[in-house]
Subunit: 450 residues, 2 copies
Amino acid sequence: MKNKIQNIKTSNHKTWQSAAILALFFFFSIELMAQDKQQFLSAKESEPANFEWMQGFPPAPDKVLHTWDGSFFKFPAIRWSVVHMREILPTQNVSRGLEASEALQYNLDSHIDSLTFIPWNSKKPMSWEASLWENYTDGMIVLHKGKVVYERYFAELTETDVHAVMSLTKSFTGTLASILVAEGTLDDKKLASFYVPELKKSAYGDATVRQVMDMTTALKYSEDYSNPKADIWEFSAAGNPLPKPKDYKGPVGYYEYLETVEKEGEHGEIFGYKTINADALGWIISRATGKSVSQLLSEKIWSKIGMEQDAYYQVDSKGIAFAGGGLSAGLRDLARFGELIRNKGKYNGEQIFPQAAVEDIMKGGSKEAFAKSNHPNLKGWSYRNMWWMTENENAAFAARGVHGQTIYIDPAAEMIIVRLASHPIAGNAANDATSLPAYKALANYLSNKN
Amino acid sequence: MKNKIQNIKTSNHKTWQSAAILALFFFFSIELMAQDKQQFLSAKESEPANFEWMQGFPPAPDKVLHTWDGSFFKFPAIRWSVVHMREILPTQNVSRGLEASEALQYNLDSHIDSLTFIPWNSKKPMSWEASLWENYTDGMIVLHKGKVVYERYFAELTETDVHAVMSLTKSFTGTLASILVAEGTLDDKKLASFYVPELKKSAYGDATVRQVMDMTTALKYSEDYSNPKADIWEFSAAGNPLPKPKDYKGPVGYYEYLETVEKEGEHGEIFGYKTINADALGWIISRATGKSVSQLLSEKIWSKIGMEQDAYYQVDSKGIAFAGGGLSAGLRDLARFGELIRNKGKYNGEQIFPQAAVEDIMKGGSKEAFAKSNHPNLKGWSYRNMWWMTENENAAFAARGVHGQTIYIDPAAEMIIVRLASHPIAGNAANDATSLPAYKALANYLSNKN
């Protein structure tokens, strides 16, 4: 993968295509096999401070990062970029409002770092702390029974920064849709094209909102990045906020692309994790409410639970938020969101949105539809309202994004884990082996503690 | 002027040049003569809600605004854009920190709207409220003795938005420099090239930091936008964050441009209001401290006085903040800053930075140097540390930005006025006649009140 990224050739003539490559990395969906780590600098070695990306007045020529030559998202530069998306891309604010934030309560547990677990396909125990370094963690926070028991920042991230959350964005889109369904503003049994007539001739023409929410749509659409003709490239090019080249004939903006997606197979049968479903859902909820995804997130959640920082979305050239992967947010604010979900929409005693919105997530999706998809490491899981349901004994579920982002909610253990990271490998298969069993070990530890 | 803007031709081949045109509007420095208003839609008629710029999912094709075709900053679209800079341009955050904001105290005075004054070159009294509509005001706040006596939002601006402050940015840069001088971190008697050796061969090579701060540098540099060969275009093109065209041979980024500026005349003799001085000063203070202008503004001011919103800077393709005109901030936060200056660096009883930093501003600049410049409407004024000194009986001074932005500080009347606006004419000569006498009338009214 490293070589693949480094071999991306940038032609002066078509710099926009290289820019499109950047966009790709936000919504990488392929569960790449973990590769030999030897080829990458370690977490410590790859810290941005060692490279001075975009530092200095001005930065040295080889330390300047751009979207249009792909440099911005190459490892190890990505370790800087995940904390600085807005400095390279146009963005839309998600306002926390003007009220004071509500401080999280702390009950730090110094034993967590030395907690051990057995990684998948291994017999050697690994410590919690070692797993953080192993996975190029930028930020890790754990809440137990609503209190912070663990919090650490690494590399470029501090408590006053926000971090690209990649595909966690989808779970925000799905949660907003679930809230709107529970509130009666959105009918998940209706067709997507009921809300967005422009989608009538596309694959979404006869897909229900529910099928979009659960990604059981049958789309002729490939996110295989290794194929230069994969549809993902066209989607990326459409959503790229830079001016299109003169000879560009493709769709402009995320929505125009969605109108072109063709059907392949029957809706409702197979889970197919495809970013464009989240953008279709973003379109649907915007049409159902007359509000942008940014505005909805602010109104329904961000301004309601004492967030301490505004968040933001990357936008296309028409100002449309990238609902499939464009959000950046702060570590503690993501934990607040996780806690809001764990408490079924209740926060500090107040019901922020209908409990039914979370109950509909927690009941899980179709295990059959999930089993037919290609996720060999996630056996028995399901997918519901753009959340990954482990279906384990604790009924844990998660938002998951490439390069190691997660919000992991364990209802039985009353635990929230948020990890922000900049792993050199996009696909989460590369870090699941040393993180999912760690989360389970921590859940056990915390459950047995009191 | 309207025709000039509307006649800007955009060639597909050189869209970047059109983008450069946009940048121009941020730091227009020519005091344009007020023109016949008849040719522009009124403030009411031009409200963004009447046009739906960038509204809808997606916006209608003729409602999409871009930097690269100039549409973003054409009147009346500019009325939307001033509140949404980050949605079109890359930006750098100015953090307020995570603490709760400190609420402003209120003592609203409902008589202010009907207060009257005589505009320059007129005999007919005008009401305060009428002047706001006359000047395409987006936000107006007045503090008297530290309390809000007047606050209104118009058009696209609300209390949870930020607004482009154009050249008010310069006064922030100048204030930061004045603080650093007072703290002993910056020596204003040293040459600019002492801090930035790269400037040695440029006009700045033998200019002192003091001359840069007071804009008495002798530069071969024209901001005459009507001349297609004016230097301003080259500066704009250099600072444009979009990728440069293949055949572009000019400097890349604000700093590289500054290295090319030639000397014309002798430093220290004539005040010459040129945006590039603020960017040179931004470079100097970054080198003197090792910190970006964004970081300095956050550390010295934004995180210190209970601000309620983060601010942000527009950046060039190297991530360098546009210290001459790239700041966006909230109305009330700008008022807090004005109050901090009026109280000589003290805020809510705490000395935030040395009093000497403001005293050095308030002693004013050289009236002789100012008189030799071309500001026929601002007779007797001076310019100090990037603030405009009225030198009137109240010792009022102001930050001023194109399209009607101002922070007006009247020490004798214990009054701060902040106006954010999107006047169709960039140069402030177009609105000074109906605002500066209004500010004076309000100062008199408030002074006589108690």
